[in-house]
């Protein structure tokens, strides 16, 4: 259920771009993020909201400012659940093939 939100959030290039910006420099205000995108403030806010709902962005108040932080944990969890599983399988298939070819040689 949470995976759905993460995949949906990552399915949009603007949102991936926002994550990349936060990866470069974390803890930024809406105004800073907005200045790097050709998009209205409202549009950026909407995308940040989707990222926040997916847990990929966490906001904190510092003084009068609301700062946006990249939270990489959901990506790690998706990786553990979806990537590890299939790459392990593929590696295993190749290992089996290698054994078969070597045994028959």
């Amino acid at each position: 259920m949470n995976d759905d939100r993460v995949f949906r959030a990552l399915a949009d290039p603007t949102r991936r771009h926002l994550l990349d910006r936060l990866f470069e420099r974390d803890g930024r205000t809406l105004t800073e993020l907005e200045s790097e995108l050709e998009m209205t403030r409202f549009g950026v806010m909407k995308h940040l909201r989707v990222l926040e709902d997916a847990g990929l962005v966490v906001t904190r108040r510092e003084g009068r400012e609301k700062l946006h932080f990249l939270n990489p944990v959901p990506i790690r969890l998706v990786h553990d659940r979806w990537i590890d599983k299939y790459t392990e399988h593929r590696v295993a298939v190749l290992a089996d093939l290698k054994h078969e070819l070597e045994d028959s040689a």
Partner: protein, 149 residues
């Protein structure tokens, strides 16, 4: 990896299918931490957070606890005593915030900040550092088993 600036505040959060009390126990009791915190045995009380090596033998140092509010909030000083190169850096601060959610899960947020005087620690705990701890904690509480590998 590209240059990362502003690592002086890092925020990590994860939803865990467990109660706030279970999450609190898992971050304050050594028999729990040993199973997901790089094997470290960590004991947290109202004043001190004591860290021991995986076999319980070596004292990896104590840091002061500044907020102790079970099962909601824990704030303590951080020193990377597990690595001599990092241990000499200035202490930083770690806050654990535990919030029960309406759907019965618990949101755990870790804020590691005041890292201005500890750039190597900042680098070390970012990326896989805290992520490994939090995904391990989630797996342990939800399945009863530590993360494999």
């Amino acid at each position: 990896m590209s240059t990362i600036t502003a690592l002086t505040t890092q925020v990590y959060s994860v939803y865990i299918r467990a109660t706030p009390e279970q999450v609190w126990d898992a971050i304050t009791q050594p028999e729990w931490t040993a199973r997901y915190f790089y094997g470290a045995r960590i004991e947290v009380g109202p004043e001190w957070r004591k860290v021991y090596s995986p076999d319980g033998g070596d004292d990896w140092g104590s840091t002061s606890v500044t907020e102790f509010d079970p099962p909601r909030r824990l704030v303590h000083e951080w020193k990377s005593s597990y690595n001599p190169e990092l241990a000499v850096e200035e202490p930083s601060r770690v806050s654990w915030e535990i919030e029960a959610q309406e759907d019965g899960t618990t949101l755990l947020t870790v804020v590691h900040d005041q890292l201005e005087g500890a750039p190597k620690t900042a680098e070390s705990v970012s990326g896989n550092g805290w992520m490994y701890v939090l995904s391990g904690l989630k797996t342990l509480l939800e399945t009863g088993e530590p993360l494999a590998g």
